[in-house]
Symmetry: C2
Subunit: 427 residues, 2 copies
């Protein structure tokens, strides 16, 4: 890379992105959470990106929102909180926070999560604290959690840069240039760099529909993953599993995109039928800390061994979050030919990095990935093989030479991925 | 004023204030709300001043706070909310907001309010909406409201600049220079520009004690205000009234300063014994709008007529907020020789401007300004003459030639203010 921009040059380029950023805000409101007239809207976002949040809020009101509630986050305050507050405090989600999330969920709110934070914000913090806080929230904010999980509330995660994140992705750049570069990358991979992102997303969704039709047609019994990096894993699927991806719908039929960007076609595997070894191909950023060069060994679905060159304790806290966080809840298929992968960037943010590569997730599975699953109780889901946990953590396994073979009910083998891309070349 | 600073010069000067700003944060935490070990702390502040908030939060934890909750405000989002949300929505404070404020108050939290906003943030907004929202909050968040009003929770209001405010105070300056100048003014008038602001505040409080001792010793029946601007007003005081000012104490004895800066010695007058005319000497900034050149006429305590050259509808909404917002709840005495007055600045913010000048307030009075008042019910307070309302709005009447005469129970006349300053020259 050549000589760097001056701050003034970076500011001018940032200003030049304003139309694209405005269209991106509109995309998030209209397609991401698809705000309906009279609806409550909740936007969670970093205070550093208030400029973008104000756009989102204005667009939400234009779309007919009855009221918008903004939940602000700040890396530095999170760090101060985890540094100074005792672990036991995090066992309880404050009553007002429970009431906030539950009452808004019950009122039918759409939830937009703007992700943007310093990947190293919680370096050196005891990972048990954020894990406890997340677990408490998921356990104690039942109406909220089930509203999102069972399709009663539309929701979407979109990205927006903050400087500490941008300089992590572009460590060689001054902060304003890094911010500009990260904004540009975010717009590009969200297919929001053109003149009509909403039309782009219609096209994009059509590709998802085709991949899902093919996979659901095969109704595989299992997938076998093999790679030269040592991965040799068999993932058993549930009877009646459904491949999902792209757009989703609430139970009352409102279309929304849970992730923007999204490139993954995914299902929930049978929690008890995975065995073998899998090697991660990218670092895992979790709760402000990083796990690098790690692997997991499964037997009858359970993680029985694991290792990491860096962040072993973080990986341990993930695996041990609760009694079922050691089982898989998701397997997701993503071609290596996506805009995210093609940027060549490591985003240090799951929304992006999980969409760069085939991945698996430890923790809770998706009711919508099982026939009849959305009306099942947790116990019924478990009986059918869909894992239930208070956590869900993705990790990337899509090496460039990854081969995935589908094994049909009758034992026939069907190539699904060859050399890291769809065997039937639809995307 | 000469030529203006470059942005770089302004940034360098701002950086040069950092030690003072840190001491100011410590002053707010240690003297303002006087955080106790194990206490919950709540900080309300504009997102634009996150840098200052992070200092406050760190200082609160250093002082032993068990947990700090930050409530963020943003002028632009407030404006979008009032523009787009219907009036009836504001009749109810959301259940979670009630739970938030009430549960934290019941847990004994100290509340620090960082005031800093664009004085014109709500220009053109129907003032009934913010008035409704404020009334709903005060009515529906009882534990919170009474915790602050009856001395169960320590609280303090301190200022911190945002750019739109700074450029209103310094309209001739570029925004970063204006921000620097407003920070410097805020530090100066908060007596936080020296090396030991906490010692400065001990001295300052000693002056308050002396003024209060003299006033409480006289136990006046009434005060008469006269000025060449047309003011001719008699304010009847309550039997058993108490002059307060400077530091306060919670019911369990924790010292705190409700306002930083503060220059006022104040009491609650008898709500039914004010008559005559009073002219404001400074604009009134209320709910993001401005009232200029206004006057009020009282009879038997009630506002019976009023006029304003600008913002009449805002004044009307204040007077008509509820059935008792047309009575006085406060009269406050402030010498014209204070740092605030001497800056010569109009701050467009009540915390500062009310401390530049003798003032009165429409709306609720103070239980602590009546003997035995803090344990009285609302009805008892009303019976003793202390007004009770859902609002409290100060307006400035301290002209340079203001004369205030105290009338004793036996009819004797005692000079209290001569030419806008204390007749006994203690400050």
């Amino acid at each position: 890379m050549g000589k760097h921009m001056t701050t003034a040059e970076a500011e001018a380029l940032l200003a030049g992105l304003s139309k694209h950023i405005e269209r991106y805000a509109e995309l998030a409101i209209r397609r991401g959470i698809n705000v309906q007239p009279g609806q409550e809207v909740v936007i969670s976002a970093p205070i550093e990106r208030a400029d973008f949040v104000r756009l989102l809020v204005a667009k939400a009101y234009e779309a007919g929102a009855v009221h918008v509630t903004t939940l602000w986050t700040d890396d530095e305050l999170s760090r101060l909180e985890y540094q100074n507050v005792s672990l036991s405090y995090f066992e309880q989600t404050p009553s007002w926070k429970r009431e906030q999330l539950n009452s808004l969920a019950k009122a039918g709110a759409a939830f937009l999560f703007v992700t943007g934070s310093n990947p190293r914000a919680l370096d050196g913090i005891d990972p048990a604290k954020p894990a406890m806080a997340m677990r408490a929230r998921n356990e104690q904010c039942r109406d909220y959690r089930s509203g999102l999980d069972f399709g009663r509330n539309a929701w979407s995660i979109v990205g927006a840069p903050v400087e500490a994140w941008a300089t992590t992705v572009f460590p060689e750049c001054p902060s304003r240039e890094a911010l500009y570069r990260l904004w540009r990358a975010i717009l590009l991979v969200a297919r929001a760099d053109g003149t009509d992102p909403q039309v782009e997303w219609e096209r994009h969704d059509a590709t998802f529909q085709k991949n899902k039709r093919i996979l659901n047609g095969y109704a595989f019994d299992a997938l076998r993953y093999r790679s030269s990096n040592g991965t040799d894993l068999k993932v058993g699927l549930c009877e009646g599993h459904i491949w999902e991806g792209g757009g989703a719908r609430t139970v009352d039929g409102t279309a929304f995109f849970p992730n923007m960007p999204t490139e993954e076609v995914f299902t929930s595997p049978n929690r008890l039928r995975t065995s073998g070894v899998v090697h991660a191909v990218m670092p895992l950023v979790h709760a402000g800390r990083i796990v690098r060069d790690f692997w997991l060994r499964f037997d009858h679905g359970r993680v029985v061994d694991y290792g990491a060159k860096e962040g072993y304790d973080v990986l341990k806290s993930i695996v041990e979050t609760d009694e079922r966080s050691c089982f898989l809840g998701e397997c997701a298929l993503i071609s290596k030919e996506t805009p995210i992968r093609q940027t060549g960037l490591l985003f240090y943010n799951t929304l992006y990095d999980e969409n760069a590569s085939c991945h698996l997730a430890l923790g809770t599975g998706f009711p919508e990935c099982l026939e009849g699953g959305v009306t099942m109780s947790e116990e019924e889901l478990l009986t059918h093989g869909v894992n239930q946990s208070h956590t869900h953590v993705d990790f990337m396994i899509g090496s460039d030479d990854l081969e995935i073979t589908g094994i049909t009910q009758s034992g026939e083998e069907v190539p699904v991925f060859v050399d890291g891309r769809w065997a039937w070349h639809v995307s």
